[in-house]
């Protein structure tokens, strides 16, 4: 018998599911119609036109339903309808409203929906702008939407095989068999949801995923254009839109990736902005291949060369997005990634394998079919031509991405390798050294090429002028890099090379922009992007090479360091320093003093720890610099023990001091302190307590005490105490316990506390000696404040601003180029009309 459940809201779920189905069917219909439009293009133009109109209609309907799905799910989350698994799993009543949207992309289905949403928006733009390529590109785009649709369908076949999972699943379906659902009124017991992972409660979580997913979604467009060109066997019309879209894609995906880095840097304690983590690599690799494709298509536009490789690059870029989804969403990375992603298991694993198989089959099939007929240039390019070196650069970037992929994919190919060799492969023990050691050479080659090719011309370049420009550039760069390398103590030769490369890049692009391009803004796009790239290299080098920890623990159990191999990793782990409350410790050039924590956990349930940093002048012993840092942490976040920390950073123009808490005193401990009795007879009497003293200011009768509600017949007396701290940054605080004579018969008390100091005051008795003389008997209790301590880790990142600035410049360069391209296209349309 079916139970009739009470208190459920089933309508939104039904509506949502309806939208899911409509969006799927509409995408399918659009694919089919556009496909018919392609097939009848030659034979029956009239019918082709009507198929086209139907295809458009289908896609518009699809977009509308995707927005419908979005709104319905948002409604469910916003209204805390916890009968839905998605709302239960990812949101909670106490979640601040700005994070409601973030619940979307915390879950699997939500992020697929976000991806789908961007695809459909981009699809609408392509629909309006693709012209002769509309039918074919839209077949691809709609088809990918069909594929994504299957991810959120949640259909069952024969009970065991599940296709996708719907975001509108009910809690009782998601957790079938749980005893609570035997009760019809189970909703009465489900008061709150699981909430958003505290690590993700951060403004970055609000903006980073939409931008990153827009970057992912954008790869579909150059892919669709490339496939469309192959399909049509016509390779001219796709050039301009593909360049424009991949410029936008490069800018957005690049921003997304670096925002991820900034997020990790600013608010997660991963100890840096880039860790070569598999999840980071999974979004970097598609960007690298995209950049290769962007450069080869420029070669193709200018010279007619490099068409096949261009198409391969754009196909790969989009395929790699699916591959990175596969890596990050199926839990296959489990053992190797620090990012806490949930694995939705086997179903998704095979689903994504099928998807990648289908897309690969289509792309490969078309490639093989058209391979022979693709236009190629028979002659050889000149040794001093732009296309030659640009091509080499693109290939190097591509090869670098292969290396990153091979290492990142260890969990994917390890089972096969084990079967062959019997060895169970694991990632390198020092991942950073592994990647850095190889990629530094890529950075050098690509950096040198990127700066050199802007001086070159397509077809051929005059060797003499080129030599002159490059000579001047190299000379300035050499001087600059020697100065920086000397100043920053960069001693490893490969990093000296990288330093020269980045200086060369910066000098070359500025020189070129001013001397040769004469600041013509429209043309500056590539120059600015390459300048940004060189600055990124410089920023990475300076901030990573001299990144160092300034908290060293010199106490405690000595660590047996026989093994040379582990010396470095051992050092890595002696970087937590205990700061007892009020006791200064040396942290780098500073004396760091832990002052105390925020009395109560803040609105967002964080505890903030106040740490004062003071730098002394050695001679005069005076404080020459002082600042406060407030690293914070979620203490015992839901379902977890311990703390989840967020860093606090002091920024300077040339370096950052980055701190976070790795441990703190357990405040929830049993309290064993007892009350001490004090007799206070005249103002000025002083009680010494730990970390300070209390001064008695006499008795008071005027009550501003909000906790006390006057009752008729009361005689309230207040003992006025002021707490003064030993530490300069702690303000004095009032401590005013009450003694109340009620109806002249009995006595009540109202105690006062200073939680941050662990101070409790109880006004026990009032001994009246004469009219003007009375002694207050006060009991003071103080819990052990000496036990209050934090464990701090502090790092210095020099010149990290160069990196952020470089990224911004680079992205800006992309947009200049894009703007130029669009304005020229606009002009052409105007000319054609005139």
């Amino acid at each position: 018998m079916d139970t009739q459940y009470l208190g459920e809201h089933l309508r939104p779920g039904q509506l949502g599911h309806f939208f899911v189905i409509i969006s799927f069917v509409a995408a399918l219909f659009s694919t089919f119609s556009y496909l018919r439009a392609v097939f009848t293009e030659k034979s029956n133009p009239l019918s082709s036109q009507s198929w086209l109109v139907m295809g458009r209609g289908g896609f518009v309907l699809h977009t509308a339903s995707v927005i419908g799905i979005f709104s319905t799910l948002f409604y469910i989350i916003q209204n805390h309808l916890f009968e839905y698994h998605y709302a239960y799993e990812h949101s909670s009543l106490s979640l601040p409203p700005q994070y409601l949207l973030s619940c979307f992309w915390e879950g699997q289905q939500g992020s697929f929906m976000l991806w789908m949403f961007w695809h459909s928006v981009l699809g609408l733009v392509v629909m309006r702008t693709a012209k002769s390529l509309e039918t074919r590109t839209m077949v691809i785009i709609s088809f990918v939407q069909v594929i994504l649709g299957t991810m959120i369908l949640g259909f069952y076949f024969g009970g065991d095989i599940k296709i996708g999972s719907t975001p509108f699943m009910l809690l009782r379906h998601a957790m079938q068999g749980a005893p609570i659902f035997a009760m019809a009124n189970y909703m009465d017991f489900i008061k709150d949801g699981n909430g958003l992972n505290v690590l993700l409660q951060n403004y970055w979580m609000v903006i980073h995923p939409p931008i990153l997913f827009l970057g992912f979604a954008l790869t579909l467009i150059p892919f669709a254009y490339s496939i469309a060109a192959l399909w049509k066997g016509e390779y001219k019309d796709f050039i301009k839109p593909t360049i424009a879209w991949s410029l936008l894609n490069g800018a957005v995906l690049g921003t997304g990736i670096m925002m991820g880095g900034a997020w990790a840097y600013e608010s997660l304690n991963f100890g840096g902005y880039w860790a070569w983590d598999p999840v980071e690599n999974a979004s970097l690799v598609p960007w690298l291949v995209l950049i290769s494709g962007l450069h080869t298509i420029l070669i193709y536009r200018a010279t007619g060369r490099a068409l096949p490789i261009t198409i391969i690059f754009f196909i790969l870029t989009h395929m790699l997005i699916w591959y990175s989804t596969f890596l990050t969403r199926t839990g296959i990375l489990g053992k190797t990634s620090v990012h806490a992603f949930t694995g939705d298991g086997q179903a998704l694993y095979y689903h994504l394998l099928v998807v990648m198989g289908v897309l690969l089959a289509i792309s490969l099939g078309l490639l093989i079919w058209r391979w022979k007929g693709m236009p190629r240039i028979k002659t050889e390019e000149e040794g001093l031509s732009r296309e030659f070196w640009m091509f080499i650069g693109s290939i190097v970037i591509f090869l670098a991405s292969i290396q990153i992929t091979v290492t990142t994919s260890i969990p994917v190919w390890a089972p096969l390798a084990k079967w062959i060799s019997g060895k169970d492969f694991a990632p390198p023990t020092d991942v950073m050294a592994h990647y850095n050691g190889i990629q530094v050479f890529v950075a050098v080659i690509v950096g040198l090429l990127a700066a050199t090719v802007i001086f070159m011309k397509y077809k051929n370049t005059d060797a003499k002028t080129l030599g002159k420009h490059l000579g001047i550039t190299a000379l300035i760069a050499l001087v600059m890099s020697v100065l920086i390398g000397w100043g920053q103590h960069i001693t490893m030769w490969q990093y000296d090379l990288m330093l020269f490369t980045s200086c060369y890049g910066i000098v070359a692009t500025i020189y070129y922009g001013i001397m040769l391009q004469k600041f013509k803004f429209k043309k500056l796009g590539p120059t600015v992007a390459h300048l940004g790239f060189a600055a990124v290299l410089l920023g990475i080098l300076l901030s990573s090479y001299n990144k160092h920890t300034i908290t060293y623990n010199n106490t405690g159990v000595p660590f047996n360091a026989d093994a040379e191999a582990s010396k470095k990793s051992m050092d890595d782990n002696r970087e937590n320093e205990v700061l007892s409350k009020g006791v200064p410790a040396i942290v780098g050039d500073f004396q760091a003093t832990y002052i105390g924590d925020s009395d109560v956990a803040g609105k967002d349930r964080r505890v903030y720890y106040k740490v004062s940093f003071d730098r002394y002048d050695m001679q005069t012993k005076k404080v020459v610099e002082h600042f406060m840092l407030y690293p914070d942490a979620f203490i015992n976040p839901k379902g977890m023990q311990g703390l989840s920390a967020n860093p606090s950073t002091q920024h300077y123009w040339d370096h950052d001091i980055f701190t976070y808490i790795t441990g703190a005193a357990d405040k929830g401990r049993e309290d064993t302190a007892t009350y001490q009795r004090y007799l206070l007879s005249k103002p000025g009497d002083t009680i010494t307590v730990k970390n300070g003293f209390l001064v008695y200011n006499g008795l008071g009768k005027v009550f501003t005490e909000s906790r006390y509600v006057p009752v008729e017949g009361d005689l309230p007396v207040q003992a006025k105490l002021t707490f003064y701290s030993k530490f300069p940054d702690v303000p004095s605080r009032e401590l005013n316990p009450l003694y109340i004579l009620r109806d002249r018969k009995f006595i009540t008390y109202l105690d006062d506390t200073l939680p941050s100091m662990g101070l409790y005051a109880h006004f026990a008795n009032l001994i009246v000696k004469s009219q003007n003389e009375a002694t207050a008997e006060v009991l003071i209790r103080q819990t052990e404040p000496i036990d209050d301590f934090i464990v701090l880790k502090a790092l210095v990142f020099p010149y990290i601003n160069v990196l952020w600035l470089g990224v911004i410049i680079m992205v800006f360069g992309f947009f200049i180029s894009l703007g130029d391209l669009i304005s020229r296209a606009g002009k052409k349309v105007m000319d054609a009309k005139a």
Partner: protein
């Protein structure tokens, strides 16, 4: 042969040799027994926390020293010293991946990753890395 082809060939050869050489860089998953055959060499051991045995961690004395016992996949028990802060929720972990080396019978580890069961069966990978 075209210039491009020559350069491409060179690049491909370099890439292949780099990729072969990075294979030497890759570590392996071992057991405590096989790790003790190569003392001092950093490897990974997949194991489980032995909850019966004591865990020693005194944050105040040395926040970088955490001692516990772990069983590897073949069931051998070994003492583990982790020089970092105690990973949160390690008591709840159902599997831990430890990176380090054997020295005098003790496994010195500098990185720990844990797999924790979340409340509702779904697997969750939690972070327990010190570096």
């Amino acid at each position: 042969m075209k210039k491009t082809h020559i350069v491409l060939l060179v690049l491909v050869v370099i890439t292949i040799s780099v990729i072969i050489s990075v294979f030497l860089d890759f570590s392996t998953y071992e057991t405590f027994a096989s790790a003790s055959k190569q003392p001092g060499k950093n490897i990974y051991v997949i194991g489980f926390l032995d909850k019966e045995k004591e865990m020693i961690y005194n944050q105040k004395e040395d926040p970088n020293h955490f001692t516990f016992y772990a069983k590897d996949k073949s069931g051998n028990l070994n003492k583990v010293v982790f020089n970092g802060e105690k990973p949160r929720d390690i008591e709840k972990s159902e599997q831990i991946v430890m990176m380090g080396y054997i020295d005098a019978g003790t496994f010195h580890c500098s990185r720990i990753q844990m797999k924790c069961p979340s409340k509702y069966k779904k697997d969750m990978v939690a972070v327990g890395s010190s570096s």
